[in-house]
Subunit: 373 residues, 2 copies
């Protein structure tokens, strides 16, 4: 659901062959010094994201990761390691390795536990930005399991009635096998994630209500209030993202806020990692935390019957009477449509992102022009 | 957080001794023919709810349960039974027994599994209304565990862009031990639960935005639109409750809607019970579904360290700068304050509810006046 804005910007964005760009990302990560396996995993996750139309978290993120690899916040030769484990759980220390490696390692561990014991919950600390939470939830769904993943982040969300951000955007991802395609829910517990504010800012569009607030409850709309947008990145400012449900109890602010706290429990609190307020881009000794859960539906009943019934339930929702001109989307529908389009027509990369990738490739001394055709 | 309205109605509502009313409820359930154990459990859950200031789900519900006991929807001699089980999971058939019995039985089963194996997830079908989801989550927290509970209900929520309700109000409850008191999140995945609409209607107050919509996205505000309020109970009407996040994607409608679907997975889909649209008050062969999860924090690390860190995190939130005149509440704070007040000053019972209880007691031929002083 991060791709709601694609329609707005489609007209100016060029398409590129996903396989070629994947190869280029792989080459870039090899050049940084990552192993073949690690480079392949990073390339796969980023291109998966672009193929599903979630451009904010795809190759657009290369420049941010490049910055962190250069300043040592992402450590090239680090590997995740298990620090505590039971049949159904583990705590993983990512040792500040790249978030995607930690994510794939930890979700595979949860999947393995779920296959053997029905359920696996893995919580990780000292990780890095891991892209979209939905990727890891989907890993479990691709194995016929229910998958969930969450991560914390630096302060962004205003607790209800607070004038200073404290909780992260703390997304919740949930995936479950269904026909004709996987149900994937992947949502920040703020009304919108930080990336959506950046897109509106770039497009010079005013913000809708319930997205950003100043001094606790004053809505920030005007895109000309550049200082307010910048203040979103400043942990000491009086501007923050509204929780899902806005900034008043009347509209349910305390619900999004509470969901953000629950995400914090499964990420930083249980792993004894860094909580949101400890995370800064500068401090190399702190990192975000993530959680990964896999559940085998077969522990509850006949897996195929459960999936069939769930698929019928989702289809019944799609077929409800709708507002004229509107479509009822079930979570994962938009992403499945984007995937079909981008596999055929290429992934969307805006010129600025392309330039950023070119710069990185040039600096690393690797060939890039052939991959961008 | 269901008690936000208490301030509004406090002035006219009398207080009653919680122990006496508990005894009266116990006597009523004995008179229906429930066992001593079952009668005690129902009385305990209802009074717990009133003591925590959530009057909408306390003894106020006796009249609804009375109706269901009389028409056979709640079966007096039914007991929950396990139909499928693993070390970490179970499916329970409640056999249309009273929801509270199923809830206590099933959460105890989840707690037992969590104590032995770290995690327990129990999903139940053919149950009855079980009161507040938070009660069951708190059962786990009282044993030093993380507790979660959810239930489905008849259609109430409008899926984003749909003009007809389909998903239930599908609450999510989460409890975790903390100092100075348990963190308890207990929220419908609609902006507000049905009960809050009823309170506003009773008070002849107009509804805030984002609560109720007609034809998919037209807000219903005016309390004089009595037909619209009534239509909320009609599954074929074009009026429904807005998901948490309202009725447009811009304000995050798809997030509350998706959370409602996830609740449906853990309740009806995994238990192969009745989904929301199958549930009606009239059909005696269908019943709501519930889920119960317990997780032992000790599988992740030192339990006391985890709880201390979580308590510090919550306290830091309470101490953030706030909007002038407003208090920052963490989930469970309001309920803890209500408990302290009601244990001392009695629980609040409005005159209409008192009359309903009197009528039930009279019909069952049991003494009541002495308990209402």
């Amino acid at each position: 659901m991060l791709n709601n804005l694609n329609g707005v910007v489609n007209s100016v964005i060029k398409r590129y062959d996903s396989e070629k760009i994947k190869q280029l990302v792989f080459n870039i990560y090899q050049a940084y010094g990552f192993s073949t396996d690690a480079s392949r995993k990073v390339a796969n996750t980023l291109i998966y994201t672009d193929l599903h139309g979630i451009e904010s978290h795809g190759v657009q993120r290369l420049v941010m990761y490049d910055h962190f690899i250069q300043n040592g916040k992402i450590r090239v030769n680090s590997h995740p390691e298990i620090v505590k484990e039971t049949d159904v759980s583990a705590v993983v220390d990512a040792n500040f390795g790249i978030g995607q490696l930690n994510g794939i390692y930890s979700m595979n561990l949860a999947i393995e536990k779920a296959k053997k014991h029905g359920i696996g919950i893995v919580t990780t600390r000292r990780s890095g930005h891991y892209g979209i939470a939905g990727y890891y939830a989907d890993m479990a769904a691709q194995q016929g399991l229910i998958g969930m993943s969450s991560c914390n982040s630096r302060p962004a969300m205003l607790p209800t009635h607070a004038t200073k951000a404290f909780v992260g955007t703390n997304p919740i991802a949930f995936a479950m096998p269904a026909k004709p395609h996987t149900f994937i829910f992947d949502c920040a517990t703020t009304t919108v994630p930080q990336g959506k504010i950046e897109v509106y800012n770039k497009l010079e569009k005013d913000l809708p209500a319930l997205w950003v607030a100043k001094n606790g409850a004053e809505p920030v709309y005007d895109h000309n209030q550049v200082d307010d947008f910048k203040a979103l990145r400043d942990p000491d400012s009086n501007v923050g993202l509204a929780p899902l449900g806005g900034v008043t109890e009347e509209t349910g602010s305390h619900k999004g806020f509470g969901l953000g706290i629950i995400v914090e429990v499964f990420t930083s609190i249980l792993s004894m990692g860094n909580i949101s307020t400890e995370i800064t881009p500068e401090n190399l000794e702190v990192g975000p935390c993530q959680s990964f859960t896999a559940i085998d539906p077969a522990i509850f009943g006949d897996k195929q019957q459960i999936i069939d019934r769930f698929s019928r339930y989702l289809q019944d929702i799609r077929e409800l009477p709708a507002i004229p001109g509107k479509t009822i989307y079930v979570h994962g529908d938009k992403e499945a449509a984007a995937y079909e389009d981008r596999i055929k027509n290429g992934i969307e990369i805006d010129d600025r992102t392309l330039e950023e990738i070119t710069d990185i490739a040039q600096r690393l001394g690797i060939e890039y022009a052939a991959f961008m055709k």
